[in-house]
């Protein structure tokens, strides 16, 4: 049984079809990259998967359970964690509290008290390397640090599936490499499936994903192993445009 299964999922905003008949399967422990240019519908797809928006058509199953019409706060305890494109930590709360909040209401939340969540938070803060910032309000961190806090907060939820929205956007190459290492490490230690959404940074995609799904204008264009997907002419066309007919010099 796949961990997550989307069947012909559609989401419209008025006349705009943001997600157009997308089907997708994610297996336990798999790393998938969702790639596509700006406006391809990637973030909307994420929002439909974790319930920020309800889909207008199609079905979503998580571990075989139909979650199509479940509100987002009921999906999280099932095991769907998420980070945002623009990090949204709880600014006035400390880094430690931010991460602990993830634990309190995640899959293990019902059997952990506040103190246990705080202790677990310390472990994940170690993992992301922000030990020295543990007591600081998350609102005062740098954007990269905020992203790390979000990842730790999502991991503290003990999810089975982690949705990472543009984890590497706006980072310098060194930070990207570190992020790639962190994600690999997470896969090793947490054994969870990761769906990562990427707009441009193909270098990171190549280093990470086993499979790539390319979206274009809301629809699924390609769903293949990474190597094939990145050399697929349709994908190149989406990113670079159609090659000119005939020889450029002749025109």
């Amino acid at each position: 049984m796949p961990l997550l299964r989307l069947e012909h999922v559609t989401k419209r905003f008025g006349g705009l079809v943001a997600v157009d008949d997308v089907s997708l399967e994610v297996k336990h422990g798999e790393i998938i990259a969702i790639v596509g240019p700006n406006g391809a519908g990637k973030t909307t797809l994420f929002n439909v998967i974790n319930g920020v928006f309800l889909s207008d058509g199609g079905k979503i199953y998580f571990e075989g359970k139909d979650i199509t019409n479940l509100p987002s706060y009921k999906r999280a305890p099932l095991g769907i964690g998420r980070t945002f494109q623009i990090p949204r930590p709880f600014g006035s709360a400390s880094v430690r509290e931010n991460v602990a909040i993830g634990g309190m209401f995640g899959t293990q939340g019902h059997r952990m008290n506040v103190d246990a969540c705080m202790e677990m938070a310390d472990r994940y803060i170690d993992l992301i390397g922000l030990k020295g910032h543990s007591g600081k309000p998350a609102g005062g961190l740098t954007p990269t640090e905020k992203k790390l806090v979000e990842i730790a907060r999502a991991l503290a939820m003990k999810p089975k599936l982690l949705l990472m929205d543009e984890a590497m956007a706006g980072m310098n190459p060194r930070d990207i490499d570190q992020m790639v290492e962190l994600i690999k490490q997470i896969r090793e230690t947490e054994k969870i499936a990761i769906v990562s959404m990427v707009e441009h940074i193909m270098r990171a995609v190549a280093g990470l994903a086993e499979r790539v799904m390319v979206m274009h204008q809301g629809a699924k264009l390609v769903d293949e192993p990474t190597k094939e997907a990145l050399s697929d002419p349709r994908v190149i066309e989406v990113y670079l445009g159609r090659p000119p007919e005939g020889n450029v010099a002749d025109r």
Partner: protein
């Protein structure tokens, strides 16, 4: 055990503050009335802060909960004073006040708390006015004539005790309610409820994605805060005045005072309401004594200056200052 003690240490300055106020009132001749007013403002702030401070939602109809609480006590005393219940009469009155405030908050919260920010504020303004006109128009509980129960109170407890009840015990009860509200605030802060409220105050959508049922936690804070308001109304208005008129208790002015106290002290802080209540109560009192007639003219700019200088409230600023020191464990 030691852990629990550290967790609840921040209650110490709050309780010390109330004890200090109480002792000043006991020992300084002729100051009890001022202390009683301060107790009212501190209790009002402490109860209101539990909702406004912790959720970031502003309820402009808050005074309605004090209003129905006043009615709860008034109804019990006016109807049951001849049953020989003794002090149980007051207990039943307080319970009815809590029940009525809770029911109203449930009805309001179930609808209005689905709205966000400014929409919630606008919706709640209507609740207070609407409830007042409902009572007057439907001739509920005496309609616009209200309930006067001075005679019944005297009958139940004797004129002398009724008098002490109104001028002393009601005020002492306010201190107890204020301290109890502070305890509840800290209890919430230290539990998952408090963390859920922090999360939803900062970012409601992100909180939902983290698995937090935001409506549920908002309603918990709302009901707690409202039932405390019902107690304050029952004690500070019903017992002290021994009558209740709709225009007196559904007066939006008190809601505004509650908002100012919370903002002056620092929304969402434990120590804020007592500091805010003192600043507000003392300046209101002494400005009225020294500059009668002009007090609001002076008072308004003072409030504006404080809020501009300390947007996070006096305690909010203090909290930032002491971050990292041992005082941070006490000032919360």
């Amino acid at each position: 055990m030691k852990n629990t003690l550290t967790k609840y240490l921040p209650l110490a300055p709050v309780l010390a503050g109330y004890l200090f106020l109480f002792l000043v009132g006991e020992n300084l001749e002729g100051k009890w009335q001022l202390i009683a007013m301060l107790a009212f403002y501190c209790a009002l702030g402490q109860a209101f802060n539990l909702f406004m401070g912790m959720t970031g939602y502003v309820d402009f109809g808050y005074v309605a909960f004090l209003g129905v609480g006043t009615y709860g006590m008034a109804i019990v005393i006016s109807r049951l004073s001849d049953k020989g219940l003794g002090l149980w009469l007051l207990v039943i009155g307080l319970l009815l006040a809590i029940v009525m405030a809770t029911l109203l908050s449930l009805a309001v919260g179930a609808v209005a708390l689905r709205l966000r920010g400014a929409y919630f504020a606008i919706a709640t303004i209507g609740v207070n006015e609407g409830f007042r006109y409902l009572i007057e128009g439907a001739r509920l509980w005496g309609g616009s004539e209200g309930i006067i129960f001075t005679a019944q109170l005297n009958e139940a407890f004797g004129r002398e005790f009724a008098n002490v009840l109104a001028t002393y015990w009601a005020d002492v009860a306010l201190f107890v309610i204020a301290a109890f509200s502070a305890f509840l605030t800290l209890f919430y802060m230290r539990s998952k409820i408090g963390y859920a409220l922090t999360a939803l105050r900062e970012d409601e959508d992100a909180a939902k994605v983290m698995g937090i049922n935001v409506t549920k936690f908002k309603i918990i804070a709302f009901i707690t805060s409202a039932s405390l308001a019902g107690m304050i109304g029952a004690v500070a208005w019903a017992l002290k005045l021994t009558y209740v008129f709709p225009p007196d208790v559904f007066e939006i002015h008190y809601t505004v005072e509650a908002i100012i106290i919370v903002l002056l002290g620092g929304a969402g802080t434990l120590l804020g309401p007592i500091v805010g209540g003192l600043i507000y109560g003392l300046s209101k009192y002494y400005l009225a004594v020294t500059l009668p007639g002009f007090q609001l003219l002076i008072f308004a700019p003072i409030i504006i200056i404080i809020i501009v200088l300390f947007p996070e409230g006096t305690v909010g600023v203090l909290k930032k200052r002491v971050q990292g020191t041992f005082l941070a464990k006490i000032i919360v």
